[in-house]
């Protein structure tokens, strides 16, 4: 079977520039929205999942859905800290941070509305546990004082959280002595200070969670089993830190995906219909051409293939354009409430090879579906009638 040369397809598209352009535009818009939604969900997941380190584990109260609703008392913390499953640092001290997570309200710069901000009280090992968190401005806070460091996402989104500023919460004033950069993870959206100071200020006797480095990541399951067997540990749950953060992203990411996919599915109908209209018109206008091709000896299947390919090319160009538009979104950052932690989390649109693949595949599907019926019509044209058409 002889194939119709690709240049024919290309020239046909070019000959009807305006219509081709409009159809490509339609596909591009749909792919843009599709890719944008996927990038948003990816960005959120990446932000949260990257917050957890594979070597770390977190202890929460059983069935707590987030650190906010979790409580760990001092006695429990002492028992876990003494366990051999916790890694020891240079001086033989456990690499473990007893933390308390709370939420305070601050005014947002842009809308002047109140936004919820997570504050995390930590112990001295917190930075060692999270090597991704760096102080980029100022200095680390001193333990035993009312000093805090602020994530860069908070510093850029909220009013009055600059270096040297004072924040009022928990019946006290806290001075901002540093800005942290956590490489785009959830810690960028947190304020850190001394756990004991926070607990005192808020009159809270218990911690929220314990995060520690595993002495041996391979022995996680044994550690977990050991805790479960201990009658004093019946109310706590041990999780991989990554696992915990992945769970934190689930509700919001699923919501963004569902909403986005419902909308783009509806949109894609519009784009497919656009492609279909264009291709039907192409077939109708080129009836004589199709007749000529057939008379020259091209098989029905070649004609079908050529028209289908034309539609796919149309959709792919649109898809590429849509992805290119969506790529511009990676410069944008948004901050939104994560109801699981009841606080704002800043994240961006993350373009990944997977997103590009899905978006282009989506475009091809639209092209095939939109082009199939018109291509069948072209292939079924009768040679004599087609040649005679005016």
């Amino acid at each position: 079977m002889m194939r119709i040369p690709f240049s024919y397809i290309w020239r046909s598209l070019w000959a009807r520039r305006l219509t081709t352009g409009l159809t490509i535009g339609g596909v591009a818009l749909v792919v843009f929205v599709f890719a944008g939604v996927l990038m948003l969900a990816r960005g959120l997941e990446a932000t949260l999942v990257e917050s957890g380190s594979p070597d770390n584990a977190i202890v929460l109260r059983r069935s707590a859905t987030s650190e906010l609703s979790s409580q760990i008392d001092r006695a429990t913390a002492d028992v876990i800290e003494a366990d051999a499953g916790v890694a020891r640092g240079a001086e033989g001290r456990p690499v473990l941070s007893r933390e308390v997570v709370l939420v305070i309200d601050l005014y947002k710069k842009k809308s002047n509305a109140l936004g919820n901000v997570s504050i995390r009280g930590v112990s001295s090992r917190a930075l060692e546990l999270r090597p991704g968190v760096h102080i980029v401005q100022g200095r680390p806070f001193q333990f035993g004082t009312h000093e805090v460091v602020v994530g860069k996402s908070i510093a850029s989104q909220f009013k009055g959280v600059t270096l040297g500023a004072e924040l009022a919460f928990g019946g006290d004033r806290w001075s901002v002595v540093g800005i942290t950069d956590a490489g785009g993870t959830a810690f960028d959206s947190e304020i850190w200070g001394d756990a004991d100071q926070f607990m005192q200020a808020f009159g809270r006797p218990v911690y929220s969670s314990l995060t520690f480095r595993l002495a041996d990541a391979g022995h996680f399951d044994q550690f977990k089993a050991r805790l479960q067997a201990d009658p004093r540990m019946q109310y706590v749950e041990l999780k991989h830190e990554r696992e915990y953060y992945k769970e934190q992203s689930q509700t919001l990411a699923t919501f963004i995906r569902i909403l986005g996919l419902v909308v783009t599915t509806i949109f894609s109908f519009g784009a497919m219909i656009g492609a279909m209209i264009t291709m039907y018109a192409a077939v109708a206008n080129r009836t004589v051409e199709v007749g000529t091709l057939r008379a020259l000896g091209f098989a029905r299947r070649s004609v079908l293939g050529a028209f289908l390919l034309e539609s796919v090319v149309l959709a792919l160009v649109g898809g590429a354009l849509g992805v290119a538009l969506a790529a511009l979104l990676s410069f944008a950052r948004i901050s939104i409430i994560n109801f699981q932690s009841f606080s704002e989390i800043g994240f961006g649109f993350a373009l990944s090879p997977g997103v590009v693949r899905s978006a282009l595949l989506f475009a091809v599907v639209m092209g095939v579906v939109g082009g199939f019926l018109p291509a069948v019509r072209a292939a079924r044209l009768n040679i004599v009638n087609a040649l005679r058409a005016s």
Binding site: V262, G274, I334
Partner: protein, 388 residues
């Protein structure tokens, strides 16, 4: 009249194309309607807020409780006619990752809460039964429908903020007074929460989550807010008092990024309508270049030809708009069935219908502009010579 006939004749020349275009516009208008409705549903809490209610909460954040004795002090503030309180319970019902298993659960004061919320209508005998039993609860009609809760059923869940296993007996089902009333909430006695936590976690204080205030008139709100907040400014738990509307607004604000992106998407939709329709009109006009030249020769003026092109575009776009809006209703219904508790109140607003039609109309006008211009400008001789 003649023109109308011509327009319709033209429409029916490429039946498939016209039908496809109408369908394309209809889907886009439907998406537009759906998105506007979702944005509206997001704001439902604000729309449903009563004009005479205020909320007092902890100044630092809603997550911190405020002491119970505040109640009497708030009640003494001039302008306040009634006070009640509630606690967010949280909790995990069934499979935690299923949206359907999430709904708001509040511990409330059984004696005053429903007086402050007349829009939650509970039959008097059910309310009396609810007040009598410590572990009783009242659920919304929609919530009951969705999970099949009936009077006398037991609801069990795992606590997160208040750990342990919790159980309630359904003693009442409330219905909403207005279409904007949320029928997916669950209420149980604050005293039950208080006593259970005492037992389970001795030493853990249980305070009020937030207070709900009724004021005599909405003019008094600013004064009441100032009076309440000044009273507690130097205490252990300073407060923030605001109207219920502002309180609800702050929740909407938290998700403002999603709303903004939805609004961007709805503009994109209008662009898609324009492209689909524009494509069809451009094609039709190109194919008919010679005919228009003939019409001109016969003495039809430019105005007539513009009317022809514009008329065809408008008939298509408005039909698409009407079909799309008709489709919006079942789709919204399906959507609310799929995620009943996520958007407790979801209605297609009249403004959405008007805007949907407006978008279709605008797209019709815009799509016809360039082709109509081209028809008028093409000299007769060139038009006649065109090979389609």
């Amino acid at each position: 009249m003649k023109l109308m006939r011509l327009i319709f004749k033209n429409l029916f020349r490429h039946r498939l194309r016209s039908a496809l275009t109408i369908l394309g516009i209809a889907t886009a208008v439907m998406a537009f309607g759906l998105i506007r409705t979702i944005v509206g549903a997001w704001n439902a809490g604000v729309t449903g807020a009563a004009a005479n209610r205020m909320i007092t909460r902890h100044r630092v954040s809603l997550i911190f409780p405020i002491p119970l004795p505040y109640r009497d002090e708030i009640a003494r503030v001039p302008g306040v006619t009634a006070v009640s309180w509630a606690n967010w319970f949280g909790g995990v019902y069934g499979e935690p990752n299923d949206f359907k298993n999430f709904w708001p659960r509040f511990a409330v004061d059984p004696d005053t809460y429903f007086d402050l919320y007349p829009e939650f209508q509970v039959p008097p005998d059910q309310l009396a039964a609810f007040r009598k039993e410590r572990d009783a609860c009242i659920v919304g009609r929609k919530l009951a429908q969705q999970h099949g809760f009936k009077l006398g059923d037991v609801i069990t869940m795992e606590g997160d903020i208040f750990p342990g296993r919790w159980q309630w007996v359904v003693r009442g089902i409330y219905t909403g007074r207005d279409p904007s009333t949320d029928e997916t909430q669950m209420f149980f006695q604050f005293a039950y929460l208080f006593e259970q936590v005492r037992q389970r976690e001795p030493g853990r204080p249980v305070d009020a989550g937030f207070y709900i205030l009724r004021v005599g008139s909405s003019d008094a709100m600013a004064r009441v807010a100032a009076a309440v907040d000044t009273q507690f400014v130097n205490s252990r738990a300073p407060t923030k008092t605001e109207s219920e509307r502002e309180f609800q607004q702050s929740f909407v604000q938290m998700s403002s990024a999603i709303i903004t992106s939805l609004q961007v998407i709805s503009v994109v939709i209008v662009a898609i309508i324009l492209l689909v329709l524009g494509n069809t009109i451009v094609m039709s006009v190109r194919e008919r270049t010679r005919e228009y030249a003939v019409l001109k020769t016969l003495g039809f003026s430019g105005r007539h030809l513009v009317a022809l092109v514009l008329g065809e575009a408008l008939v298509i776009s408005l039909s698409g708009g009407v079909v799309g809006l008709l489709l919006t209703f079942p789709v919204v219904k399906g959507f609310s069935k799929a995620l009943p508790t996520f958007f407790p109140v979801i209605n297609v607003a009249p403004l959405t219908i008007a805007l949907g039609l407006g978008a279709a109309l605008l797209a019709g006008l815009a799509a016809a502009a360039i082709p109509a211009n081209r028809v008028v400008r093409t000299p007769i001789v060139i038009g006649l010579r065109t090979v389609g």
